[in-house]
């Protein structure tokens, strides 16, 4: 099997070095860049399977670099940043970031996020059946089974689950989910979102109070694991 290629764009040499060691010992190949300019050149010359991007780069804002990359690069981009205001994170996610980690983070967490990000976009099978843990989504019959038991979902609950499933491993912002499910003009109706996520959790999670599938990112959105 080919080792996935990861590009690290971060201006801190220590972070680059430690990430390189952690990733290489876990069967990834690593490319490194310390500026936005170098990052974009590296990404163009050797298109990586995923990019780890620091938002605070010396020559250009990471937000702008993210937009430039997103013009042509459609694989996962995970933000790793030391400034962790919710606004920054939401902005990066809305600009196409797949996920984010705030420094300091544990290597285990990074590897888990990276694995699920690399699965992103590959979950919808041609058969129309998507499997997430013990859940099975059938997009042709529009049904959901948990451990082979048919679940009774309302149409909105189903649509919500499908949206999450299509974006497994990606953090979806509240705004994005509201727009996708209820349409433009409903972006501030977060109370509906809370209610439906709560209802959906009660149906698909073993313990809705300690959800394992629909994970809350406080003040930002949700992710499906």
């Amino acid at each position: 099997m080919n080792k996935p290629l990861i590009l690290i764009i971060d201006d801190e040499p220590q972070i680059r070095k430690l990430l390189e060691i952690s990733l290489e010992t876990n069967d990834y190949k690593v490319l490194k860049a310390e500026t936005a300019k170098e990052g974009i050149t590296q990404a163009a010359n050797h298109p990586p399977d995923a990019i780890l991007l620091d938002l605070g780069l010396p020559d250009k804002s990471g937000h702008i670099l993210l937009q430039e990359l997103r013009d042509w690069y459609n694989k996962p981009i995970i933000i790793i940043s030391a400034t962790n205001t919710e606004d920054d994170i939401v902005k990066a996610l809305d600009n196409g970031a797949t996920d984010y980690l705030t420094k300091p983070f544990r290597t285990g967490e990074l590897l888990a996020r990276l694995r699920s990000a690399l699965r992103w976009g590959q979950t919808v099978e041609p058969s129309g059946i998507t499997t997430i843990g013990e859940l099975q989504l059938d997009s042709i019959a529009r049904t959901v089974k948990k451990n082979n038991q048919l679940l009774k979902l309302t149409s909105t609950e189903y649509n919500l689950l499908v949206l999450f499933a299509k974006n497994e491993g990606k953090v979806l912002t509240h705004q994005y989910i509201l727009k996708e499910i209820w349409g433009v003009g409903y972006q501030s109706e977060t109370q509906y979102l809370r209610v439906f996520v709560g209802q959906l959790r009660r149906k698909i999670e073993d313990n809705p109070n300690q959800p394992e599938h629909i994970i809350t990112e406080s003040g930002i959105g949700y992710r499906l694991m």
Partner: protein, 338 residues
């Protein structure tokens, strides 16, 4: 102006000279409230009004008798002196207050430095000496010792992270730029999220919460309130015995969300109940590992919501924190027809 109108009526039975004293009183009172410039203007204006409306011949700026002219001049000078003196006194007062504040800030700063140098240097010292041990004695260390040293580095780094997080939260609060991000929030989810985070740092105590599925949604800043719960929980966990039970309850009213966190620990000394929320305050003889910031941040975040936080000892054992948050609520908690 209004005063002048009132004086105009008073004039009929007081005489226009008494009116001057009334106006003077008014100018002095203004000087207590306002800055030098508006007071000077009002002194000038009132002198002119007095002249125009009251000194015969009325409704002209002309002054008939030399006695009145002298009176007018004196009125003007007294009003000015009054204004200048009052403003000088206030300037001196302001300076004294500033001096006090400065001293208070210096004192806080010193406490911060002491607390910081201890709470930041201790984990750094641990990390450095553990690394030295690992590097210098590579061949002499047993596998067990190596694992021990690595664990020490791990614990110290997590402690350092928590302290830095506290300091960042505190500076966020004190910068005065804290902007609430109010959004509908599932309180059950919020509480469970906080409990989960606390359990990540292995704890001996048990945290209990019985969720009510029909609990309404409340509009609040979920990130900040989660931090409030985390800080109170961490505090409880750090300072209570291992077999303590910590119970979280949420009560909903149409105007307020009430969250209580009680423990079965030793409680607080009664004399210290109100001090625990003070910045950098730590109970006398409390064990190391805190900066005295956690509860003060919790209080700040609750107050940013317009709410209040109180601490009292339970009648039997332990203590209870009560958080009262005034906030909008939504009773929509199930939509099954869509």
């Amino acid at each position: 102006m209004i005063a002048a109108a009132l004086c105009f009526f008073a004039q009929s039975f007081l005489g226009y000279r008494a009116v001057a004293l009334l106006l003077l009183l008014l100018v002095s009172m203004l000087a207590i409230v306002f800055d030098i410039l508006p007071v000077l203007v009002s002194a000038l204006l009132s002198a002119v009004i007095w002249n125009f409306l009251f000194i015969p011949p009325v409704l002209t700026f002309h002054i008939a008798s030399p006695e009145d002219a002298l009176l007018f001049l004196m009125y003007f000078v007294i009003a000015l002196v009054n204004a200048v003196l009052t403003s000088r006194i206030r300037k001196a007062e302001k300076k004294a207050i500033e001096q006090d504040e400065k001293e208070h800030t210096i004192q806080l700063y010193n406490t911060l430095l002491n607390s910081l140098s201890h709470e930041l240097r201790t984990p750094i010292a641990t990390i450095i000496s553990a690394i030295d041990a690992l590097k210098d004695n590579r061949n002499k260390l047993t596998e067990n010792t190596r694992v021990d040293l690595l664990n020490e580095i791990d614990i110290a780094s997590m402690r350092l992270t928590a302290q830095v997080e506290n300091l960042l939260n505190m500076s966020r609060l004190q910068s005065g730029f804290l902007k609430l991000k109010l959004d509908w929030c599932d309180v059950n989810e919020l509480v469970f999220h906080a409990i989960q985070k606390v359990y990540l740092n292995t704890t001996q105590q048990s945290v209990q919460f019985a969720p009510d599925e029909q609990f309404p949604l409340y509009k609040l800043d979920a990130g900040l309130i989660e931090q409030v719960l985390l800080n109170i929980l961490s505090n409880a966990i750090q300072y209570t015995p291992d077999d303590t039970i910590i119970t979280i309850k949420a009560v909903s009213t149409p105007t307020h969300l009430v969250i209580t966190i009680s423990d079965t620990g030793h409680g607080f000394p009664n004399t210290e109940l109100t001090n625990v929320f003070d910045t950098f305050y730590r109970l006398p003889n409390s064990k190391t590992g805190g900066t005295g910031l956690g509860l003060s941040i919790a209080k700040g975040y609750v107050e940013a919501h317009g709410g209040s936080i109180a601490l009292h000892n339970n009648p039997t054992q332990g203590a209870t924190f009560t958080i009262l948050l005034p906030c909008e609520y939504s009773s929509i908690n199930s939509i099954t027809h869509e």
